[in-house]
Subunit: 370 residues, 2 copies
């Protein structure tokens, strides 16, 4: 463990694309899709050797706070930071940086989305360790870049520049970020050696606050107001007065991702490194991603719970209490929950988001994610 | 109403192909697939104007008796005949003929499977009325032949011979019966004007008993023993002693359909007529038949219960208490029950029978039809 290293788990998402499993009161990070543990518990377990319970933090939105505390009961209550509302990742990471600096002015923070899948936990820990070293020694922004398995069009890509340092074979200057490319662009990016942008970032909290001042003055001002209110003390378990200040300031900050707010700008100035990694990773974005990650039988079917298939191929079954039986279907996802059932073409998993809109519009809002 | 006319509803089937809706304790004739009424209630309602409550009978197997009495509470208890075990339709119809003759020696019996669908109830009643007239006046076996809608390979066909009588344009000698043809044979049969064999038969009970004596001496002997035991009285609500005789005799009779046992043989001797009818009919054999009968929306989807579809086509949804949502699937049947769910390719509906075998073999017998 590194006493100068904090982990920050970002857990504000809804996971609409995992309907009907995800609901307003059961966001994606609480789902047990890939194992008997929820995604956020998997994430916390993965990082525990690095930062321990004392230095692992969770940032979430106020209405998920109590559910997340229940899910991670060993984490100190003061390590949960609640945003009054979701404003994308830049304000969220800024708030976490303020907290880290308050606790340890020159600490490195490892930012981890709560809902990712990692195959090789040892390789993961080794990569994060190298990234922490880089960030600590060179005072730079480090992103974890994943060697792609296939031309995914739902991810962002990192175009690598010069090899950094020379000693560490895995670190490169970031030349450019490319969001969600077309399939042909994704194929070209892979041929050129570009990496998936994992959304896992490592940097000194103080450096991030500096860069926010430079690139995002509105966010920096809001953070400054919050810091004044806390007098540089912890934001965990805040007083009602401090909660009011945070709520007031959050109304003013733009809704913006850390990628657009800081990384793209710093990258174009040559200030971002990427650490190339290959630990088996997915952002678990939709049911087709889950299908890819689960083990398959000889007919390409994957599932959990009680299920049986006859003449069915390449299908995903999520069964809970009931018996699910497939007959002669292909590329089908079946997600069974106590009150709602989804039967879909797995290749159209991305559309679940629009499907939830349809449900809200047609009077089935009680069944959805809002 | 015709006091010389009895209706006999045959209700012994299991309906395995309607799994997971059909179960051991909920056979096909009790299912509410097509309306808010079960198939057997629809059947009884359809025939009530012809034979009334007093002369409408139900033949079933012993373990379905109490469920059927509950389903048709107005029918006199003595009008339910229970077979000790299923032995296909010939023994069952023979038993009913014995009962009809005991009540009215020269009466006509109309034999109706409990699980059919009829679209035009007035046309149906008119056809049955004509068939009863024919059977009464000419002492002949009459089958209802349905003008085919499409080359169904799951049905039996009736090849028409000479027009009968000349007055009634709709009655023909039966030239030949053809069971479940290939698709090309079915197409040729339709071009030649052949009819679907509906399994609805009309004849004098006494004539049927005569023909059983001639073609099926084992069945005739068993019926003779039963008649001796009852001394020519009703078989409805029998004494334990008579039940024992029926059980003993049923062990001796062959398992054979009325088609093979009597109709084919009598037909080849020119003794069977078919009344051509066009009242909209289906034997509701499997989920694809149900799909054809239900009204469809503009995307070809049909269903009942709470359901919603996005980009789905030509699919059938049977929802009960839960919300069923389809995304981008085609030709899919979804049948949702409280403890088991089927998601299938509707074109493979016939295979549900084998699927139930699979379930029994793999330890899921508690969910099936046995």
């Amino acid at each position: 463990m590194n006493p100068k290293c904090y982990s920050v788990i970002i857990a504000g998402g809804k996971g609409t694309r995992f309907w009907p499993l995800s609901r307003s009161q059961r966001p994606k990070q609480l789902l047990k899709i890939l194992s008997r543990k929820s995604l956020i518990v998997e994430t916390a377990d993965r990082i525990m050797t690095l930062s321990g319970l004392e230095r692992t933090m969770v940032v979430t939105v106020a209405d998920q706070l109590s559910a997340l505390r229940k899910e991670l009961p060993k984490l100190p209550r003061g390590n949960f930071l609640a945003e009054p509302q979701g404003k994308n990742t830049a304000p969220c990471i800024g708030l976490a940086a303020l907290e880290v600096v308050a606790r340890s002015p020159d600490a490195v923070m490892v930012i981890l989305p709560a809902d990712h899948w990692v195959k090789d936990i040892h390789a993961f820990r080794k990569s994060i360790g190298s990234a922490v070293d880089l960030a600590m020694r060179h005072d730079t922004l480090v992103t974890i870049g994943i060697r792609p398995d296939y031309p995914e069009t739902g991810y962002g890509y990192i175009v690598k520049g010069r090899l950094f340092g020379g000693k560490s074979g895995a670190a490169y200057q970031v030349k450019r970020f490319t969001e969600k490319p077309s399939i042909s662009v994704a194929q070209r990016l892979i041929r050129q050696g570009s990496l998936w942008n994992s959304g896992i970032f490592v940097w000194k909290a103080s450096l991030l606050l500096e860069l926010l001042q430079r690139y995002q003055p509105k966010i920096a001002q809001a953070l400054e107001q919050i810091k004044t209110a806390t007098r540089g003390k912890s934001l965990g378990a805040p007083s009602p007065q401090i909660r009011n200040v945070v709520a007031r300031e959050y109304k003013k900050v733009p809704n913006i991702s850390i990628d657009y707010a800081v990384l793209e700008k710093a990258g174009s100035e040559g200030k971002v490194l990427t650490l190339e990694a290959d630990f088996g990773w997915s952002d678990v974005g939709s049911w087709d991603a889950v299908y890819r990650m689960l083990p398959h039988d000889q007919n390409g079917n994957a599932g959990n719970g009680k299920w049986l298939a006859r003449g069915a191929k390449n299908s995903l079954i999520h069964a809970e209490d009931r018996l699910v039986v497939l007959l002669g279907v292909e590329d089908t996802v079946v997600v069974d929950t106590p009150d709602a059932l989804l039967v879909g073409n797995i290749k159209r998993s991305q559309e679940v988001r629009e499907l939830v809109e349809d449900l809200n519009n047609k009077g089935y809002g009680a069944y959805t994610v809002k």
